[in-house]
Structure formats: C-alpha cells, structure tokens
C-alpha cells in the first residue's frame, strides 16, 4: 500500500517536473526558479563501491524554502521517479570550496532496495542516471543535463593516507628502537622519583623490624600492569634480602602467585640469601574482590607492616586497602595504570607512580631491551605529536592551516 502511494507521489512530482520544465515561469506570482548549473555525478572515490557522488553549483534562487531533489533512474531516458536525495537548498555545501557548490553521496542500491522493500538484494551493478531539480512550493525547475555514474570499489582509501603513514612510521620506529635497545642496553630513562622511595621505605622497615607487604592488583599475568608489578617485585625482593627483613606478597590469582614465588626466590638467590626465602610468605589471600580486601586488611591490622606496596591494576578495592594501610601508620607506595583509582592512591599513599610511570619503572629496573626499546619508540611518537600540536596551533593562530590538514582524520 505505502509503496504504491509513494510511487503515486513520485509520479505526481515527476509530472510537476516535466510541467515546470516546459514553463519556467510559474503562475500566481510564485518565485522564478533558476536551475542550478554544473551538475555532475561520479563514482565516489575511496569507497567500497556502493555510493555515487553528486556535485552541482548552487542556484541563485536557493533560499530557506527551496529544496533540491535528485531523481534517479537506471535508464538514460527515465522515467525519473525514484527520489535519491531531497535537501534544503541552503545545506550540504561542499567543504573547503568558496564556489558554494553542493556535494552529496547517495547509495543507489540502498535506495532501490528501500523502495522495493527488499532486504540485502544482490543485483548486478548498473550505471545510474540522475536528474537534479530545484523546487519551491509547487514550482520546480530541472537542470538540462542528465548525468550518470557507475559505482566502483576502490583498493585504497586515500582519505586515510595520513593514518597509514603514521602507522607505517610507527612500525619502523618501534622495530628500530627494539633493535637498538638490544645492541645498547643502556638506553637512557629518566629517574622515577617514586623508585628512590622504595629503598627509603625498606630501610625504615628494617629499622622497625617489621615486615614489608606487597599487594598485587586484581589482574592476571595477561595484563601489562601485572607484568610490570612482578618486575618491580623482583627488585624489591632483592633489596629485602640485602636488608634482611621479611617480605609478604598477597595474591588473588594463583598464576600470579606462582610467578611471584619464582621471582622472589630468584632475587633472594641473586642477593646470596636463598636461606631467607619462605614460600608461605607469598600467598593466595582470597579469590574474590571483597574477600581479598578483608584478608589483606586483616594482615595490615594484625601485623602492622612498616611498608605497603600496591602495584598492578586495581579496582574499587584500592580505597579500602590504602585507607587501612594509612591508618596503621605504614609508608605506602602505589603504582598503577588504573586511572580511576589513582586519585585515592595519591591522597592516601606517600608516593604514587602514575600510569605509564609503572611501565617505565619496570623497564628502568629490569633493563629489559624489549621494554626499553618500546618505551623509547612511544616517546618519539609522543614527541612528534607534541611538536605537531605546538607548531600546528602556532600556524593556525597566524592563519596558516596546513599542519591541521596534515593531521585531519579522514
């Protein structure tokens, strides 16, 4: 029913079109419409082969109450009854042109399938013909040319060229620095202030004769934060063995626990104190979030460790853990890339490694070439973006926009 109705209306419209084409000046004092010029249709560049682009120069009679209508047909001679596009004549100007030309993309297959009510109809691709009309109220004026286009798929999206270049250069950068770091492992990394605090805190634990507690975050070994935390744990364990204090490590994940046991054992061995290693000090505190909180808080209250380390990825439990620790008077050092929890660590801990500082600290301590190299590549990437931002803004301020277009997302 509705399809028939729309057909009917299209017919009426096309009649009006033909009619007004013959008599450009319409009756009863209605506005005289001047047909737009330079109408062209072409295959949309850099697309999947579905859409056709249309472009035309604005008509001088464009106003708030006039509309452009594009009719579509599969034959050169019409009938032009299928409406492909209907827009207000003051909209859809082509970007970056001063000629005030209009630009639109239409998907002929989709328009046809919508009209026939079919879904996903597969059809041979065909050439499509278009006719542009400007209408106002009951009067209409069509362009003389009938234009056509054949939609085709393309093999490269040129709008994404800058994206592609960025990707390729970052790949090159990363591979270069990974290689470079393997050759020269002394790649510079700035000092991370929180790391000095670790020694200080462990010294205090020794003085007080109380244990240090290392609290793992909730994520498993698959997460970068946990890997970084384990790297730092190795370093802490080495120091602990030297200072001859006790280290307790609480875990929520059994795999992280066994990895931590290995790492701590190795560090003790490296420090020449394998005898001091007690496996039970690296334990599974609980398996769920809140029981974990309860168990770790219990340890803090009972044993009053001199130092607490919170390293890895934390969720809502961070607040309760850090608060309990702070109230037992411990020195607390946190390191997490969980940005939602950082505010609570910053206000309850003495030192906090923020976000990527956690990875940097792990690279700094482990001197692992893969970590160092990737960190350096990321730094260079950041440097490029910083330079682009500063220079680009300066130029835009002076009225030059080319950096802006260089980084335009297509």
């Amino acid at each position: 029913m509705s399809i028939k109705m729309s057909r009917f209306f299209s017919l009426v419209i096309s009649f009006t079109v033909v009619f007004s084409y013959a008599f450009p000046i319409s009756a009863a004092g209605e506005k005289v419409l001047i047909a737009p010029t330079g109408f062209e249709a072409f295959d949309t560049p850099s697309d999947d082969g579905k859409s056709v682009s249309l472009r035309w120069t604005a008509s001088p009679s464009a106003s708030i109450d006039t509309e452009y209508v594009v009719f579509m047909s599969e034959n050169k001679d019409g009938p032009f009854v299928t409406e492909a596009l209907r827009i207000n004549s003051l909209t859809m100007y082509e970007d970056n042109t001063h000629s005030r030309s209009h630009y639109a993309e239409v998907d002929p297959e989709k328009i046809l399938s919508k009209e026939s009510g079919r879904k996903n109809n597969k059809k041979e691709k065909a050439k499509h013909f278009f006719k542009l009309v400007i209408t106002s109220g009951s009067s209409a004026m069509a362009t003389k040319q009938i234009v056509s286009a054949f939609p085709e798929g393309d093999w490269f999206n040129w709008k994404k060229l800058n994206n592609f270049v960025l990707m390729v250069s970052f790949v090159a950068l990363l591979l270069f620095f990974l290689n470079h770091a393997k050759k020269s492992p002394n790649l510079f990394i700035r000092k991370i202030s929180g790391l000095d605090a670790i020694d200080e805190a462990l010294g205090r634990a020794t003085e007080m004769g109380k244990p240090a507690l290392f609290v793992h975050g909730l994520n498993g070994m698959g997460s970068i934060s946990t890997i970084a935390a384990v790297n730092i744990l190795g370093r802490i364990a080495y120091r602990i063995a030297e200072y001859d204090t006790t280290l307790k490590v609480s875990n929520i994940d059994p795999i992280v626990m066994s990895v931590s046991q290995e790492v701590v054992k190795e560090s003790y061995l490296e420090a020449g104190r394998p005898d001091a290693y007690v496996e039970d000090n690296i334990f599974l505190a609980a398996s769920e979030q809140f029981p974990y909180v309860a168990a770790v808080s219990g340890i803090m209250v009972r044993e009053k460790p001199a130092t607490n380390f919170f390293m890895g990825y934390f969720y809502a439990e961070s607040l309760i853990l850090a608060e309990t620790g702070a109230n037992t008077g411990a020195i607390q050092i946190a390191a997490t890339d969980s940005y939602t929890q950082l505010p609570f660590f910053i206000t309850t801990c003495d030192y906090t490694l923020i976000g990527e500082e956690l990875y940097a600290a792990s690279a700094y301590l482990s001197r692992e070439p893969l970590l160092l190299g990737s960190l350096r590549a990321q730094d260079v990437g950041k440097g490029v973006l910083i330079a682009a931002l500063v220079i680009g803004t300066m130029l835009v301020t002076c009225g030059v926009g080319f950096v802006k277009y260089l980084f335009m997302a297509g």
Binding site: N163, L375, L389, V396, F407, G410
Partner: protein, 245 residues
C-alpha cells in the same frame, strides 16, 4: 572471647528482627508472599547481608558473597548459551545436520567452533598448545583492528588545533590552557629526557593538570558510590518497607 559472643549476639538479634519485620509485613498484607513478596524479601536479605560487612567481615557476608559469585557465573553461562552458542552454533550448524529445518547447515561455522573448543583445551596438559592457536587468532585480530582505528579515533581526532586568538578572550585563554594541558601531560609521561630546565618546568605544569583532573575524578567517584548507596536505600525503604511511595 566476650567480643566474639557479642558479635554472635548481634547477628542473631538482627536475624530475629528481620524475621519479625517480614512476618508482620506479610501478615498485614503489605507484602504478598507469592506475588513478588518473596523476591523482595530475598533481595532485602541479600542487601543487608552485604552491608553486614561494614560491621566486620562475618560468615553471613561471606555466604552471601559466595552465593552471589556462583549465581552470577551460572547466569553468565546460561545467557551465553541462549545468546551466542545456541543461535550461532547449535541452530545453524548442529540442528540442520540431524533435522530438516529448511536451512542447510553452515559448515563455515565449523572453523570458529573448532577454535572455540581448542581454547578450552588450555586446561588439558597434553593439548594445551592447541589453545594457543585460538588465542593467537583472537589476539592477532584484536591487535590488527586496534591499530588503525585507534590512530583515527584517539589520535587524529583528538589533535585539535584551535587558534589562540579567538573571537573572545576567555575562549582564547581556554584554548591556550587546553594546549598547555595536553602538551604538559604528554611531556610528564616522556621518559627519555631528564626532567630538568624547560622540560622539568613543563612537566611540573603537567602534574598540576593531572592533579586537577584526578580531583575531578575523585569528586565524581564519591558521587558515584553515594548514588549506589542512595539506590539501595531507596530499594530498602520503598520496595521492602514501603515507607516511600
């Protein structure tokens, strides 16, 4: 010992109180047991059991928590069956093989199904290596689509170049502050240069920006947790006790 007795006493009396309240409500017809009354009472019981953690960690809380973990896992399994495995594997591949449903079995689904089953072999000692194929597929696929989409959405789209001499002075100042903030925070997370001199100065500004942003997150997180509490108390006094309409 005395303290332990006191805790038991408190838990026991709360139980009695909860029981009495519900009996009164049921007998006065304020709650309809076989309508949704039983559900509301169960919900209230779980809510209160969770809050008992505030007094201290106790068996009631632990039981409720473990039950919750189990129910949530069970729900996840059943929903995955009905939403993914049944429509995507069972009905498109397995059922058509044995029964004429008017649709041919889609054998292409065999491939992801096999990879899915391989994934579960992670727990077998002998065949765990097969699970690596599935993980490699998923992780490689994720990595591949991440790179260009992230460059587009989170880097190119996020680089905005706003003129520092805008139409009005406040807008210009804000544009400048945004530029300063983005650049200084990026410099703070720059590890290849010692934070001294100009770089040091800019990175200190970066810390200020970070701290204001964390302050905003802090305020919003407080707001979030309080909203959750408000919601639960609304449930208790409106749905259970009927003190609010």
């Amino acid at each position: 010992m005395i303290k332990k007795n006191r805790d038991i006493y408190i838990i026991f009396s709360i139980f009695i109180l909860f029981f009495i309240v519900n009996i009164v409500y049921l007998s006065l017809g304020w709650l309809d047991l076989w309508g949704n009354g039983l559900g509301i009472i169960t919900g209230a019981a779980f809510t209160l059991a969770m809050y008992s953690f505030l007094y201290k960690d106790n068996p009631v809380f632990k039981i409720a928590e473990n039950l919750f973990v189990g129910v949530a896992m069970g729900y996840w399994i059943v929903i995955t069956w009905f939403n993914i495995l049944k429509p995507d594997v069972f009905e498109t591949l397995i059922v058509p093989i044995f029964k004429d449903t008017g649709k041919a079995p889609q054998f292409t689904i065999l491939f992801p199904t096999l990879l899915g089953i391989f994934m579960l072999l992670r727990f077998s000692k002998k065949l765990a290596w097969l699970s690596r194929w599935s993980f490699a597929f998923i992780v490689g696929l994720g990595a591949g689509i991440t790179i260009p989409n992230f460059i587009h959405a989170f880097i190119l789209k996020q680089l905005t170049f706003d003129s520092l001499f805008s139409t009005s002075i406040p807008v210009s100042i804000n544009n400048f502050l945004v530029l300063l903030g983005v650049v200084s925070v990026l410099i703070y997370f720059f590890f290849s240069v010692e934070h001294k001199g100009v770089v040091g100065g800019v990175s200190v500004i970066g810390v200020w920006f970070l701290m204001i942003a964390f302050g905003a997150s802090f305020g919003y997180t407080v707001m979030a947790r309080m909203s959750l509490l408000i919601g639960r108390i609304q449930f208790l006094i409106r749905d259970w006790l009927g003190l609010l309409q």
